[in-house]
Structure formats: C-alpha cells, structure tokens
C-alpha cells in the first residue's frame, strides 16, 4: 500500500482528488479525436445530425474534455498539506463540463431516437454522465469566487 500511495501522490492534485473525472476526460478524448477525423462513425449521430453539426459535436466533446482536463491539472494543494485543494481555472472547468454535458446528452438522445430499446445500455450511462457533469458545473458556477 505504501508503494501505491507514493505513486498516486505523484499525480496532479486535481487527478488525486477527482480520479473518476480524470478517467472520464481520458476516456472521452479519443472519441472526440476519432469522431473529428472520421475514423469512429456512429450511425445514431450520422442520422441525427447534419455533417456540420456532427463535426461541431466532435469539436465540442474534444474541447470540453481538454478544458475540463486543464481545470483538473491546474489544481493545487494549499497550506503545505494534502487536505485543501484549490481549483484556479474554474472558468475552464465550467466550459469543459458544459460542453461534455451537452455532447453526452445529444449522443444519448440520438441513440434512443434511432436505436430504440436496444440503445438503452449505451444511452443510459451517457445520460447519467450528462446529468452528473451538469450538476457539477452548476455547483462550481454557484460556489466559485474570485482570486483573493
């Protein structure tokens, strides 16, 4: 356990505090890139969105993940300990969370619309991500403050 703790403590503060968020960011970036270059094709999105909107969806997901990841990576511990963390790029987090939320929501809605019941196993996780990221965005927007 000591070795594992030491390895984890080398990670950025934001990743240590929110590993699931960091995982989601890492998970979604390849989808955004592959969707943008046209390698990953989703029949649901191709049916739901015109070509220009499909590109906008991929850009939105990619930019959202990058902004979210930027916010997580820039967080720092304060007070010489590991008990208080400061996120200094909350605007970047808000942008990232908003874009990821809308991208997940649109994808989930497209899957449910065009795949019906068989799309539920994929659509429900996406919908929960959309709701979760939206709740986090609202919380950050209401509680964030300026630099002291």
């Amino acid at each position: 356990m000591g070795f594992q703790n030491r390895m984890i403590e080398r990670l950025p503060a934001g990743v240590q505090a929110h590993p699931l968020e960091a995982s989601f960011v890492a998970l979604a970036i390849p989808s955004g890139i592959l969707g943008l270059i046209g390698v990953a094709r989703s029949p649901a999105l191709e049916n739901a969105l015109p070509r220009w909107a499909h590109i906008m969806w991929a850009v939105s997901l990619l930019v959202g993940c990058i902004a979210w990841g930027n916010g997580l990576l820039r967080a720092k511990y304060v007070n010489n300990g590991h008990v208080t963390i400061v996120f200094r790029q909350v605007d970047s987090l808000i942008l990232g969370l908003s874009l990821v939320s809308v991208s997940c929501f649109v994808y989930a809605a497209a899957i449910l619309t065009f795949a019906g019941w068989s799309g539920i196993p994929v659509a429900v996780p996406l919908l929960t991500f959309a709701i979760g990221t939206y709740i986090r965005r609202i919380k950050l927007a209401s509680r964030a403050e300026g630099e002291s």
Partner: protein, 97 residues
Amino acid sequence: MSVEQIFAAVLTGGVISAILSYLAARRANKTTYMESVAETLSEFNDRLKTELKEVRIELDTERKRRRSEVEDLSEQLAAERRKTRALEERIASLESR
C-alpha cells in the same frame, strides 16, 4: 422541423450556452474554488491545527508591528517635547536679559 434540425438546434444551443457561461465566469472573475479533501477526522483536525497556527503567527506579527509603531510614535512625541522645552528655556533666558 426535421429530426436533424432539432438535434442540431439543441447541440448549437448547448454549445452557445457553454461559451456564454465561460464568458460570464471570466467576467465575474469567478475562477477559484476550494475543496477540503480531508478523508478522516484526524486529517481534518490536523488541517484545523495548521490553520490555527498560521492565524496565531499572523496575529503575533500584527501585534509586533503595532507595538513598534506605538514605540516609534512615543519616541517622536518625546523628541518633540524635548525640542519644545529647549525652545521655551531659550525664550525664557532671552527674556530675562
């Protein structure tokens, strides 16, 4: 409206809303957010002790600063009084001639 247009409108609206939220956060200068990540009561206790220590240090520093200001002012006042007394004595000696 076709299904494609509805989805495109929802996506476009969401993206615009995200950009506006970002700009609003920047304009309101809302860029900082603190979280406590203490996972046990003992960590929380340590944090409070650290913060208490820092507040005490700041309080001591402020008290020392004010004390030294008061001492400086007292010295200045004493010096002014000495000057005034010396002038009064000189005036008295001039008047007695």
